[in-house]
């Protein structure tokens, strides 16, 4: 590819680089504006001459957000839900992916197609039956009502994506482990699991995001007990359509976005290779 690049004429490359940088700035701008508005003092946000900088950053909006009822609790709830979904779906998907890639058995292809079809099921359409299901099991207003559905919805994609990673581990390794007298369980957890771990991390980005971002389930299943609420709901407390508290909304948004950003930056490399692997596989 280097040769190709050398052949691209200089002015063209410079133009390409300039536009790449410009687009990067445009794409990042909403995030910049979010953080900026979170730090702006109230008077500057509600100004019809918005400036792209602030000379007197203030923490007022953040104070308001954390002073809001039980914001820390919502944050913790969100973390709990996302964490539980990530861990559980990683483990369950790992086992299932191993089963469908390392074994030949009846209905294997059927199952794979079903996992694929399951990915297409619109989560939102199932809100109604899930609502009744949660009610019947007394799970309404509990975090379980958020964890369980998200677990179910993140599994098919996770299994589908992990297949590539499990496949990539050479069969010879299993033979060797067997010859050395390792039991199947031992091979599974002590050899296969660590090798597939990078893939698990890439996969968990998707489970994390879907659980962390969840808005619909929180809105529908956590109806009366606000102590079980999660961040997206807390954020909307500040957003009243007629008179939104923009500073508060932006501060809460910043707080809500940061964990995902951190998570993304940490797994970025694996994500790119993981996507490549899952797609080419």
């Amino acid at each position: 590819m280097n040769l190709t690049r050398a052949r691209v004429r200089r002015p063209w490359r410079l133009a390409a680089e300039a536009s790449a940088l410009l687009i990067a700035v445009l794409v990042a701008f909403p995030l910049y504006w979010m953080v900026l508005s979170a730090f702006k003092p109230a008077g500057e946000i509600a100004s019809d001459r918005p400036r792209p900088w602030t000379l007197s950053p203030s923490l007022d909006s953040f104070r308001r957000v954390f002073g809001q009822q039980e914001f820390g609790r919502y944050f913790l709830n969100s973390l709990l839900v996302a964490g539980a979904v990530v861990v559980a779906s990683a483990l369950i998907a790992f086992l299932a992916a191993t089963a469908v890639t390392r074994f030949r058995f009846r209905f294997r292809t059927t199952l794979l197609i079903m996992f694929l079809v399951a990915q297409m099921v619109p989560v939102e359409a199932l809100t109604i039956p899930l609502f009744f299901l949660m009610r019947d099991f007394g799970q309404l207003n509990t975090l379980g009502a958020l964890i369980l559905p998200h677990l179910a919805f993140s599994l098919p994609f996770a299994i589908w994506m992990l297949r590539g990673f499990v496949k990539a581990v050479p069969e010879a390794l299993e033979e060797a482990a067997h010859v050395d007298g390792a039991s199947r369980t031992r091979f599974l957890w002590q050899i296969l699991f660590p090798l597939v771990f990078p893939g698990l991390v890439a996969t968990s980005v998707f489970s994390f995001i879907s659980a962390w971002n969840d808005f619909l389930f929180a809105k529908s299943f956590i109806i009366s007990d606000t102590s079980q609420s999660t961040l997206p709901m807390a954020l909307l407390v500040f957003y009243k359509p007629d008179d939104p508290d923009w500073g508060g909304v932006m501060a809460a948004s910043t707080v809500m976005t940061i964990p995902v950003l951190v998570f993304f930056v940490l797994v970025q490399r694996r994500l790119v290779s993981g996507l490549g692997g899952a797609v080419k596989d």
């Binding site: 280097n2 040769l3 790449a20 918005p50 089963a99 619109p122 919805f153 962390w212 948004s253």
Partner: protein, 320 residues
Amino acid sequence: MTAPATPVAADRPPVRAARGGAVHGTPRRRGGRATPWIYLAPALVVLGGLLVYPVYQLGLISFLEYTQAQVSGGEPTTFQGLGNYATLFRDEEFWRVLLATLLFAAACVLGTLAVGCALAVLLTRVRALPRLALMLAGLGAWATPAVTGSTVWLLLFDADFGPVNRVLGLGDHSWTYGRYSAFLFVLLEVVWCSFPFVMVTVYAGIRAVPAEVLEAAALDGASPWRVWRSVLAPMLRPILVVVTIQSVIWDFKVFTQIYVMTGGGGIAGQNLVLNVYAYQKAFASSQYSLGAAIGVVMLLILLAVTLVYLRLLRRQGEEL
């Protein structure tokens, strides 16, 4: 399907295939038939209970009379047959929402793919620093939760305090007032947060194309557009299929953005899409069975998309 001689055997080490053939359908010496099912059990239990069963229930509810009275147990549920669907299909609003959903999703998919692919190609033509900048910006947009993305865009395009109207000199034009401008507004946000997935994936795919192929094309004096159309696009076909289908699925189900940005479906429901429509019917007006019927319609449309996808996969000779 019991025979191990699937096409899969081809890319496996010979040892494996030979042994598989020797043991008649159970490729493993130890453990036996039950092992894969034991590994699959947790996944199947979760999916069965929280996906398959709710789908079944969704179908069931759509055939019943199910409103607040039945939910609270005040009245028995009655079987309606196709009554709910008849009500739905007679409702002009439903067709309007369905059409809006299809067009909106199509526009989102096209926008996302165009921007994602163009930027993926751009990424391959720049040096490390601009590439990193664009990649990080993209990851940032991708990572932004739908709710926060929606509120930030609302602020950016706010009629009074937003910078966009100032820069474009639109005065106090309200983006959410008109039907089309509201859809366009949401579309921009959706494209913003979903193009990075396409960009990153397609970029990873382009990087996997052998350099010689591109060099040969460049030596032959092919224009960038020609290189894309005649060399990259065919080689990237499997990846393009995946990102297209994935985008269709995501964009067809947009909920949060519409709900937050247009305040639950826009003025007089002008910006409703099926998802939000079903939600409003079920939870705002307690017509659970109508909401369920809308859900079934969505499910069927996405099922059709899936079937197309499976056919495409099969035509590529891809193994499952």
